[in-house]
């Protein structure tokens, strides 16, 4: 039999693999939600999923379209208010892993989801901060998932919505932040991890069939590759089957993709 997969499936599988059964995970909608539930349905059955709508230890059978679908509440251990979620659970330091996307990212994994162009007269107004700035500082570590392009992987952000590694080095520590920040940037082409010293996001694993030049072409800064770069393991039959099954159930339940 042959395995074939989409770039999104690859990103989802790689994200899922990075999760452990002991993780308490702050889940965003879309790919992060698929990745977390894939992990739960495969190698990390005891992973705790938390959505910012207040649902704690939820076990949805289909993927939610929003972070507050009824399914999340129906299958949760309990559901708390949003102020409590942000105060006791996120700021309280109870979350081990958070997922974040961005419209723009720079080489230190700072993120922009606010505006393209000047703040007061934007070319494109994006949704804004949401929970991201505090998710980035309060979770034990952060996985960023984004498809690569020169438009989104930029030399300089139009707006720093979310502080990743700042200017690199010990910038997080200098601001008094004790969490790790972005430890992985998972794209459709490869996986970046921060250089231990400079914190510049550095390619450590390349997805099967992707050339280094493709990565460089799709990145708006000169890409650094680690001394040893692995080839990302292919999605397994089980991973793909579980993920596709999850999406099929979701489509049947919602009439939409999830």
């Amino acid at each position: 039999m042959t395995l074939a997969w989409t770039a999104t499936e690859m990103m989802t599988v790689v994200s899922a693999r990075a999760l452990r059964s002991t993780d308490v995970c702050f889940v965003g909608i879309g790919l992060p939600s698929a990745a977390c539930n894939l992990a739960r349905l495969t190698h990390a059955p005891d992973i705790t999923l938390i959505y910012e709508s207040g649902t704690i230890a939820t076990r949805p059978s289909v993927l939610p379209l929003s972070i507050g679908d009824g399914e999340l509440c129906d299958t949760a251990l309990t559901t708390v208010s949003v102020p409590e979620m942000f105060r006791y659970w996120l700021q309280g330091g109870r979350i081990t892993v958070g997922f974040l996307p961005g419209a723009q990212i720079d080489r230190f994994a700072n993120l922009n989801t606010t505006v393209i162009g000047p703040y007061d007269a934007p070319a494109t107004r994006l949704p804004g901060s949401g929970g991201a700035p505090e998710i980035m500082t309060h979770c034990g570590e952060i996985f960023v998932t984004m498809k690569q392009s020169r438009r989104s992987f930029v030399q300089k952000l139009d707006f720093v919505t979310t502080f990743g590694h700042g200017e690199g080095g010990d910038h997080r520590a200098r601001l008094g932040i004790r969490t790790k920040g972005p430890t992985r940037l998972i794209t459709d082409l490869c996986v970046f991890e921060p250089d231990p010293e400079t914190k510049e996001m550095t390619v450590t694993s390349i997805h099967p069939g992707v050339e280094r030049a493709e990565i460089s072409d799709a990145t708006g800064w000169p890409v650094r590759f680690a001394d040893t770069v692995a080839e990302t393991a292919m999605p397994t039959e089980l991973e793909l089957a579980t993920l596709r099954d999850l999406h099929t159930r979701t489509r049947q339940a919602h009439g939409v993709g999830g």
Partner: protein
């Protein structure tokens, strides 16, 4: 004590032009019917406060109700852009929209501070980011014991808060269950409060001793509007209409399509249309 009245009378009683109004509901229990009534009554110059402006404020902004928006995430959840919100900010249509922009943690804490009658909220946040450069309502305060600097924002104290809840009893006590969002805080922070409910019942019925109940003396007006949260949902009554959220993208993208939709579905209708949505999306209680 809450007065139980029609939606039209309730909106007229609590909401005036120029008010600061928080319409809350975090994905669950978004009071769409009440927002439609405010649009029909032609409210203008409102300061709209809401963590996630969502379709409900996309409609109010597009219909010209808003002078200013206080918010922390302006998207169509799980879908993409809010086109009326974007058109107002990017192009000033139908008119210029003033922004006070926060992160979720700030808004949630600011509502809680308002409910607690504090002038400001303290939290760990806004480190290394650009929002404090464009929002003078983000400051820092030093811990008087450790010297550590923390983020501070003013408490939110809306003139009016509008929410949707599951049930009220005839005395006007209101029950909320499921995803709670910031509704309780938004209610307790406000001067006047309108709650639309799925049903008014004789008794709130068996419930947890710690159920989230708003006593009648925290509420100004209650209106029974079955289905009033549609296309959002009410736990145990009806499901979220995910297809509508997807479809909104197309409706709202174009000004004329939007205006035609609002005319046909809001301006020329009344709150009674929401009951049919509830019936269509009903879930087993």
């Amino acid at each position: 004590m809450a007065h139980i009245m029609t939606l039209g009378a309730a909106v007229a009683a609590v909401l005036q032009d120029g008010d600061t109004v928080a319409i809350e509901g975090f994905t669950h229990l978004i009071p769409h019917a009440a927002a439609h009534e405010a649009i029909r009554q032609g409210r203008r110059d409102l300061t709209l406060v809401r963590m996630t402006p969502d379709i409900v404020y996309d409609q109010m902004i597009g219909m010209g109700c808003a002078r200013k928006l206080v918010f922390s995430w302006g998207g169509n959840p799980g879908v993409g852009s809010l086109h009326r919100f974007r058109d107002a900010i990017e192009n000033g249509w139908p008119h210029r929209l003033e922004l006070e922009e926060h992160a979720h943690a700030a808004m949630a804490n600011a509502y809680a501070a308002g409910a607690a009658n504090l002038p400001f909220a303290v939290f760990r946040g806004y480190l290394g980011v650009d929002l404090p450069k464009v929002n003078p309502n983000i400051r820092r305060v030093a811990c008087p014991f450790t010297g550590e600097e923390l983020a501070a924002v003013p408490a939110l104290r809306p003139d009016v808060t509008i929410i949707h809840a599951l049930r009220a009893d005839r005395d006007g006590n209101v029950l909320i269950e499921g995803i709670l969002g910031v509704q309780k805080e938004a209610v307790l922070a406000a001067k006047r409060v309108l709650v639309t409910v799925e049903e008014v019942v004789d008794d709130l019925g068996p419930r947890s001793p710690n159920a989230v109940v708003l006593p009648t003396w925290t509420v100004t007006a209650i209106a029974e509007v079955p289905g009033g949260a549609y296309p959002s949902y009410a736990q145990g009554y009806y499901a979220r209409d995910n297809a509508f959220y997807l479809g909104w993208d197309k409706i709202a993208r174009d000004r004329d399509t939007f205006l035609a939709w609002m005319k046909a579905n809001v301006l020329e209708q009344g709150p009674e249309v929401f009951a049919a949505h509830r019936a269509r999306l009903a879930v087993a209680a």
